[in-house]
C-alpha cells in the first residue's frame, strides 16, 4: 500500500511494517502522526484535541481548584512545565463554557548556583525565560535558590489545613462565578528586576550542597529546598494552590525511586494528584496524565517555548544516583513494553495516605524536612529496628553516653540508641580525642546534633542527612525549627513528670487531711 505523499519505491514491502500507512484511530480519516501508549495512532488534529481536553478533564474531575482562586504555576523551564503553562494560557483565553477559571501566577527558581553556572549564564537563562513569561501576561516571580537560606521557620512548621469543602460547594462556587462574570485577573505587572543573589549566599549554598556526599542525597535535598521556597512564595504572595509540572513518566520514575529511597509511606503524597502536607498550600499535579513523549511531541508541533537548563545529574552516567538509575531502567523497559509507564501510573493512583484523615487533629508528628507524617514510630520487631541495630553494631566506638540524648518524641516507642555511626566520622576533620573513655565522646553539644536531628525526620530524610558530612550548613530555618521542636519535647517531658509528682502529692495529702487517723492506718496496712 502506498501513502499519498510518499513515492512508491517499487520494491517488495516488508511484512514487518504494517503501520506505515496507519489511519488515525479516532477520526479514521487522516494519516496517523504519533503513536501514543501501545498502538494508538493519532493524527495531528485529534492529538491536539486529546491533549487539550485531558488538561481540562483532569482539573474538572478533581474539582480542587475553585473559580477565582489564585494558583501559582511552578515552571522550571523544562518541557512539561512549559507545556502546562501553555495549557493554562489557552484554557483561560477560550470563550467556550469550559474555560478555566482560576487566577494564575508563575514562579521560576534559578538553580544556577547548584550546578556551578556563572552569573552571565544564569542571567542569560533568566532573560530567555523572562521573555517567555512576559508573553503570557501573568504575574511572575523569578527566585534565585539562594533565597532559601533566608526563609522563616514557619515554612517547616505544620499549618492547619483548610476545612474540607463539601462537594456541593464547588458547583455553587462555579455557578456564582459564572453569574458575576468574574474577570478580575490581575493586570500584568511591571517585570521586577531580578535581584542578583549575593556572592556570599551562592557560596553558602554551594557549601551546603558540597557537604552532601552522594548525588542521590543531593538531588533529594535540592527537591526539598526547592519545594520549601515555592511554598513560601505561594504563601507570601497570597496563592492557595501550587501547580507542579510532573509528567506521567516523571512520576512513574519518582514512584520507584521513592520506594528505593525508603519513602514508601509517603508515596501517595509524593505522586498523587493533590498533596496537602503543607496544610494551607495544596500542591497539584495536572500533568500527571501525560507521558513525556506526548508532551515532547506537542511542544514540537505547536512550538511551545522551553529552555533547556542543565541540572545536577545532566550528562552523568546511569549509576550516578538512584534517580538516574531508575529513570534509565524505566525508559529502557518502556521502549520494549510500551505499557510500563501507564501501569506504574495506574498503581500510583490507587495509593492513599493513611494519615490524611488525621490532618485536622494533628495527631501525626511531621518530618522536619519533607513535612510528611513520621513513619519511624514502629513496634519492636520491625525492619526499621533491625537497621538501627545493625547501624549501632557496625558504628564507631562512641556509643555510650548517647542513649540518654536520643529519646524519641513518641512515648509509646521503647528507648533505643539512635544510630551513632556519625559521631566520629561526621564532620570532616573534627578531632575526636576521647575514644569512649568515660562514655562521652566529642563534645556533648556536637555529637548528638545529627542524631538529634534524625529523631525529627522520617526514614528517608534521615538517610539524606546521614549522607551529609555536617548538618551545620543547613539553612537556619531548619536548624532553628529543629531546636524549637526539641525544646518543646524536653518541655513536654519535664511537664509530664511535674504533673505526675503533683498528682501523687495531692493523692497522699488528700488522704492525710480528709481521712481520720484510723482510715489512714487501715489504708497504710492495705497498701502494705
Amino acid at each position: 500500500m502506498c501513502q499519498v505523499d510518499e513515492d512508491y519505491r517499487g520494491e517488495v514491502e516488508r511484512a514487518a511494517v504494517p503501520s506505515v500507512s496507519k489511519k488515525c484511530v479516532k477520526c479514521k480519516e487522516a494519516l496517523a502522526a504519533l503513536v501514543i501508549r501501545a498502538g494508538d495512532a493519532y493524527c495531528r488534529l485529534c492529538f491536539k484535541d486529546f491533549f487539550v481536553h485531558k488538561f481540562k478533564a483532569v482539573l474538572g474531575k478533581n474539582r480542587i481548584i475553585f473559580p477565582g482562586e489564585k494558583v501559582l504555576l511552578a515552571v522550571s523551564g523544562g518541557p512539561s512545565s512549559c507545556s502546562m503553562l501553555r495549557q493554562v494560557q489557552e484554557g483561560l483565553s477560550q470563550k467556550a463554557n469550559k474555560k478555566l477559571r482560576f487566577v494564575p501566577g508563575i514562579a521560576y527558581i534559578d538553580e544556577g548556583a547548584a550546578i556551578g553556572q556563572s552569573v552571565e549564564e544564569r542571567q542569560r537563562t533568566v532573560a530567555e525565560l523572562q521573555a517567555v513569561f512576559q508573553a503570557t501576561g501573568f504575574p511572575f516571580y523569578i527566585l534565585p535558590l539562594e533565597q532559601v537560606l533566608d526563609l522563616p521557620a514557619s515554612v517547616v512548621a505544620t499549618n492547619p489545613s483548610p476545612s474540607e469543602q463539601p462537594a456541593s460547594a464547588y458547583k455553587a462556587a462555579v455557578g456564582h462565578f459564572v453569574e458575576t462574570d468574574g474577570s478580575n485577573f490581575p493586570t500584568p505587572q511591571e517585570p521586577k528586576k531580578m535581584l542578583l543573589p549575593h556572592v556570599q549566599e551562592s557560596h553558602t549554598l554551594q557549601q551546603l550542597l558540597g557537604s552532601v556526599k552522594t548525588l542521590t542525597a543531593r538531588e533529594e535535598l535540592l527537591n526539598t529546598l526547592r519545594q520549601h521556597l515555592l511554598v513560601h512564595t505561594a504563601r507570601t504572595e497570597g496563592y492557595s494552590k501550587l501547580m507542579l509540572g510532573d509528567s506521567c513518566t516523571r512520576l512513574a520514575v519518582k514512584l520507584l525511586t521513592s520506594i528505593s529511597l525508603g519513602r514508601g509511606a509517603q508515596l501517595a503524597q509524593d505522586t498523587g494528584f493533590s498533596d496537602s502536607r503543607y496544610g494551607d498550600i495544596i500542591l497539584v499535579r495536572p500533568m500527571r496524565d501525560y507521558s513525556a513523549k506526548e508532551i515532547a511531541y506537542y511542544n514540537h508541533l505547536f512550538t511551545v517555548p522551553s529552555v533547556v537548563i542543565p541540572s545536577v545529574d545532566t550528562k552523568t552516567v546511569d549509576k550516578a544516583s538512584i534517580q538516574r538509575l531508575t529513570e534509565s531502567f524505566v525508559t529502557k523497559l518502556q521502549a520494549d513494553f510500551p505499557s510500563t509507564v501507564s501501569t506504574i501510573y495506574r498503581t500510583s493512583e490507587k495509593l492513599q495516605s493513611a494519615c490524611m484523615k488525621w490532618s485536622g487533629a494533628e495527631r501525626c508528628d511531621r518530618c522536619l524536612l519533607c513535612l510528611c507524617s513520621l513513619d519511624t514510630a514502629v513496634e519492636e520487631p520491625s525492619a526499621f529496628q533491625a537497621t538501627l541495630l545493625s547501624d549501632q553494631l557496625s558504628g564507631s566506638k562512641c556509643l555510650r553516653g548517647s542513649a540518654a540524648e536520643t529519646l524519641r518524641p513518641n512515648p509509646g516507642r521503647p528507648e533505643s540508641p539512635a544510630p551513632t555511626g556519625q559521631c566520629c566520622s561526621s564532620a570532616g576533620g573534627r578531632d575526636c580525642g576521647r575514644p569512649g573513655s568515660d562514655g562521652g565522646c566529642c563534645s556533648s553539644a556536637k555529637l548528638p546534633e545529627t542524631t538529634r536531628l534524625k529523631s525529627l525526620l522520617c526514614y528517608s530524610c534521615a538517610l539524606t542527612i546521614r549522607d551529609m558530612s555536617t548538618v551545620n550548613h543547613l539553612p537556619q530555618y531548619i536548624l532553628s525549627e529543629a531546636q524549637r521542636r526539641q525544646r518543646r519535647w524536653g518541655l513536654f517531658v519535664s511537664l509530664f513528670f511535674d504533673c505526675v509528682c503533683i498528682i501523687v502529692r495531692n493523692r497522699f495529702s488528700h488522704f492525710n487531711v480528709v481521712f481520720r487517723p484510723s482510715c489512714v492506718i487501715r489504708y497504710t496496712v492495705h497498701m502494705l
Binding site: 513515492d7 511494517v17 503501520s19 506505515v20 502522526a33 513525556a292 511531541y297 545532566t314 529513570e327 529502557k332
Partner: protein, 101 residues
C-alpha cells in the same frame, strides 16, 4: 548509485547539549550505492556530528530509549523506525524526553 541527499537535522529537549548546543544542522549526506536509511544516518551522526558521550545518544543500533525521533513531523514508529529510507529534504528531529519537567 543514489545521489547525495540534503536533509535537515534538529536536536531538542537537551539532546543539543551533546552537539555543542547547536539545534539545527542542515547536512548533505554523500552519495552511496544504496539509499540511506535511518540506521546508517545514526552511524553517520555518531561519526561526524556527535561531540561527546555517544552512549547518551545511541545505544547499539538505535537511539537511546527516551529519545523521540520525528521524521517530517511524524513518529518514526509509523515510518518503519530504523528501516525508513531517507529522501531529499527530509526533516529529522531528535528530541530527548529525559530531562525537564
Amino acid at each position: 548509485m543514489a545521489a547525495s541527499i540534503a536533509i535537515h537535522l534538529e536536536f531538542g529537549g537537551g539532546a543539543e547539549l551533546l552537539f555543542n548546543g547547536v539545534k539545527k544542522h542542515p547536512v548533505t549526506l554523500p552519495s552511496q550505492s544504496e539509499p540511506w536509511d535511518m540506521k546508517q544516518l545514526l552511524v553517520w551522526i555518531q561519526r561526524n556530528l556527535l561531540k561527546e558521550r555517544p552512549e547518551l545518544f545511541v545505544q547499539g543500533d538505535s537511539v537511546r530509549p527516551g529519545i523521540l525521533v520525528l521524521i517530517n513531523d511524524a513518529d518514526w514508529e509509523l515510518m518503519g523506525e530504523l528501516d525508513y529510507q531517507l529522501q531529499d529534504q527530509d526533516n529529522v528531529v531528535f528530541i530527548s524526553t529525559l530531562h525537564g519537567g
